[in-house]
Subunit: 272 residues, 3 copies
């Protein structure tokens, strides 16, 4: 199959998503796309997000985990949040849950993805591929983009990229069950100041009467923002299935001086 | 016609624009595109703008009105500025001036679009379509994206989406004629601090000698920024046909402490 | 060849990049794309960057110079940083190094591009083309977008756009050799606060022992960020071949109160 070919079977246009902490102030994302379209003119490259906080691997791991299922089967997700770029950290190429992934081996894959029964995870063998980075600092352009074009375009199969490998553990902290509840933390703050945690929606029977504790506040778990008055804090399950703390018509992060890493605890009236 | 088909007659690639207040810090826009391309791989999805101030329906209504004519006939414009998401507000699907629109029924369409002689405006009937939102808060992903894919791809015709409906009045305030002038307000502030109003360019004969009043300042209506010295305020007709207040080589919004909602008045030397 | 045709020979999809100072808060970029896709539905329009500081022609000239080589041959680069829009400044259409360019004639092309042996640079003749701007301020939409669609789509050849012209000198300042070193300046600051200069990587033999001077600091030229401890300043050659000043895990621009235009000097232990 040629690099200019149709790519993944059953798709005319190989879909590639980009998730980075490059921001929009500089042309770093644009240059990655230049390399991608040079090697794979038939690609369709989508910005998943470039607003990840600089070097925030756990934040990116959360979003990659939660966004992936909304994309078509066969999509290739390229995530470059890479604080150890230039070190000996490996690059992983993976096929999990009918999706493809290219990530630095620094915990960007969630435990859900790592433990998926059909996960095939390989470490890219650059020597065997004859691929060398033109720079020590911009592997998004020099390594991830060509690898993505090869993989999505069918020029290289997953197996041709390298041997099966055991990846680093996930950087996304997992909520922990404790007496009468679940201990978690804020993993990302969205544009609206909503605090999104790593605690999954509780089962329906334990959601009734459940309370969320954060920085001395105790909030009943509600269904929607509209369950409280304007200006009040509310805890609810967001559209990605995670417990979230919001201020109706306001900014919970600013109000609570909370952010990534702030501890939260969900307790259930029914007990554990 | 299948959802994977060619879409609108005469176009190979269905063009879909997105206008939201989601910003670029989070992957909300990216996820909407995932759903769109999953259902309509042949789509061409363009970001019209995601920098609308949170929940600023009137600002979005201004830009949707002014930008739509620059797109090809047959384009589908999806605008999701949706402060009442989760309430019983309807979703409108419309065909106006050879363009398609999908918007919450909260005033996002301008009076110009609402009153267009060929406007066909329908309220989406979710029950009949068998479409349910997976969340109470992210209808951009759960309702607007699938509806857009169906409509642009030809899987559903406009008439199949629901019955004709009478939409809410436009949220974009209309300038009002008054003795010797026109009363309006600032509807959006652009990146450069220019204050864009809802007052249209006056007819040529009344433009001569016209004056713009804002926060105690009276500015002659000029042709271009270059008609005043650097650092001076200037009123002119902008590239979208609206009266605008700028500071040459500066930021009028910061200088005047003005913003959305600030009152302005255009008076004509010739009288009304 | 029709405007709807395949465009540049050998490419199915004409690739067009956009580089502007329009930002993402307003729909200016979106409207440019509307015009492009109206005239050339088969185009593939890529955002190179829209975060150029307002009216910063030299910053844009730096990035255009450094990013262009990463795109496929035949790409059309449209750069609209245009402080003198509405004046009599010309618009240049060029073919240089197998790439196409559309820029205002204000120094946006680097000396490297201007002096390329195969450079063909023409001034657009609007009268002959029958093209008039609908506005005095938004030539990105009114002139650059239609010209780009014509050129990339093959509706007009480069020669048909106008006569050969002598462009304005580059706005990108060139570093100057001086006794024992090179004098340059900061040309852009990236998202991470790294200060990127117009001094190219020194030849290998003079890199050893080279020192970078900035605002009273003298920094040895290192290979990577990791060569210094966290919180320390470091000078190195970045991924675009330019000398850069960074603070490891920090923000050099904020720490040094430096920005575009700050003087720097590279001295070599070996002498000139």
């Amino acid at each position: 199959v040629s690099a200019l070919g149709g790519g993944f079977p059953g798709r005319q246009v190989p879909l590639i998503t980009l998730l980075t902490d490059y921001g929009h102030a500089d042309p770093f994302v644009g240059v990655m796309k230049g390399v991608l379209y040079r090697l794979l003119p038939s690609a369709n490259v989508i910005d998943l997000c470039h607003g990840i906080a600089p070097q925030a691997v756990s934040e990116a791991a959360y979003w990659l985990d939660r966004c992936q299922p909304w994309f078509p089967a066969g999509t290739l997700h390229v995530a470059v949040i890479d604080p150890t770029v230039g070190s000996a950290r490996a690059i992983l190429a993976a096929h999990i849950a009918d999706h493809y992934f290219l990530v630095p081996d620094n915990g960007l894959l969630s435990q859900r993805l790592l433990e998926h029964p059909d996960a095939e995870i390989r470490a890219v063998n650059f020597e065997a591929l004859g691929l060398r980075a033109a720079s020590a600092t911009f592997h998004g352009r020099d390594l991830f983009a060509p690898l993505a074009a090869w993989l999505a375009g069918g020029a290289r199969s997953l197996a041709e990229l390298g041997e099966r490998a055991t990846p680093q553990p996930s950087a996304l902290p997992r909520a922990k069950a404790s007496a009468g509840g679940v201990e978690g933390e804020v993993v990302t703050v969205d544009r609206f100041g909503n605090l999104i945690t790593n605690i999954d929606a509780p089962a329906e029977h334990s959601a009734r009467g459940a309370c969320l504790q954060i920085l001395g506040h105790t909030l009943a778990l509600r269904s929607t923002y509209a369950d409280v008055a304007s200006g009040e804090l509310v805890a609810l399950v967001n559209s990605f299935g995670s417990v979230e703390i919001a201020e109706r018509d306001g900014n919970a992060a600013g109000r609570l001086h909370a952010g990534r890493g702030t501890d939260v605890r969900l307790t259930s009236a029914q007990g554990p």
